[in-house]
Amino acid sequence: MSLTTMLATMLPGVGRTCLLFFLTAVLSLILGIFVMFLRQSRIKPVAAVTKIYISVMRGTPLMLQLLVWYFGPFYLFGWSIRGYRFTAILLGFVFNYAAYFAEIYRSGMGSVPVGQNEAAQVLGYSKGQAFIKIILPQVVKRILPAVTNEVITLVKDTSLAFALAYQDVFSLAKQISASQTSFMPFLIAGIFYYIMNYAVAFAMDRCEKALSYYTI
């Protein structure tokens, strides 16, 4: 198999890896906000359940969680759902990453001095206004480095989807390598992940620079 054929065969995998990455990133970054608020809910049982959810997501392997999402409905309820594979993968990734993002958000919220909220309150801002206009921008600045870390890990973690036979770059690399007895597919996959993360790091660095006009 020529290098060009190899690249062409792996290309659809690139698309699938990118699709999984972007969907997971967007959905888990948003879901994380809700998880953070639930985690800090004044209703004790809600906060307790959310804490357990975060603990389980962080305390068990993501690959295991993917298997549970995919096979759980059948083994637990006897349901077999057609075309469920990608949904299961996405659910597994989004719920796992949302737990991590929620904790990053929480640490960011905790690091904004209470005085900021008090100043907003005395000036008459509503709670919503204070959060959106005053607290949130400062939280974003504080958590960017931690979020960058997590997003870079996500790029690499998408390869775990091979456990559910998702035909991403990593899966295809393994298959082609086995069938062609060639090391080249692994090299190509490695270069692809590296370039993708380089782009992620570059974009996040731009964001950090854009917010560096002030110090806290």
């Binding site: 001095p113 005085g115 008090e118 008459g124």
Partner: protein
Amino acid sequence: MTLLEMKGIHKSFGDLEVLKGVDLTVEKGHVVSVIGPSGGGKSTLLRCATLLETVDAGSIAYSGEYAVTMESGRAVYASPAALKSVRRRFGLVFQNFNLFPHWSVLRNVMDAPVSVLKLPKAEARDRAMGFLEKMGLADKAGAYPCQLSGGQQQRVSIARALAMDPEILFFDEPTSALDPELTVEVLRVIRSLAEEHMTMVVVTHEMSFAAKVSDHVAFMDGGVVVESGPAAQVISAPTQERTRKFLEGFNQL
């Protein structure tokens, strides 16, 4: 005319009773200084007055508009809408400024008038620039708080409070985070406000400032007002032993 009337204020944090029945009345155009040792309840009193802490008992009224009243032995706060209207009557300058670091100096001063008072932007900008000029900071309008000295930051925060057009302005140890030189520049601003008959309540450790600028001084210790009266009398001729001891400590330095 009475702008602020606090009566029988009690406040505990857990088992620690910080305020044990404090009264404070502020007349329009007066400057009241609250002095006393740390832990005496001065800041807590100010935080209760500005609704940052809830009182356990007592009443608070601004120009007759009640924020808290006593009903069958319990402190009852007014409705959120009523509290919102009460909040418009006062401003607060914090010890550590609490400027919004992600906004320019100008935005710090003009945003609340636009977002809260719904003033047109152009008008809010003109007014904000006016206050910054008054603070001697017009040239810093485009700067960010982190680029300013502590004294400049505190003057911006005074401008920010003034831009909301409060009837009464509270200062919570406004110079405690500043070195002596910067302290003077902030005290000078407060003094100029006093000359314009701005009603102010100042929690401070600056005794000579309190003596010169305020009409009225309240000495607080152990959660009660030990002594209060005309500034000259309380500071130069205190009648209470506790006040005398506290002020002697200052003079011995």
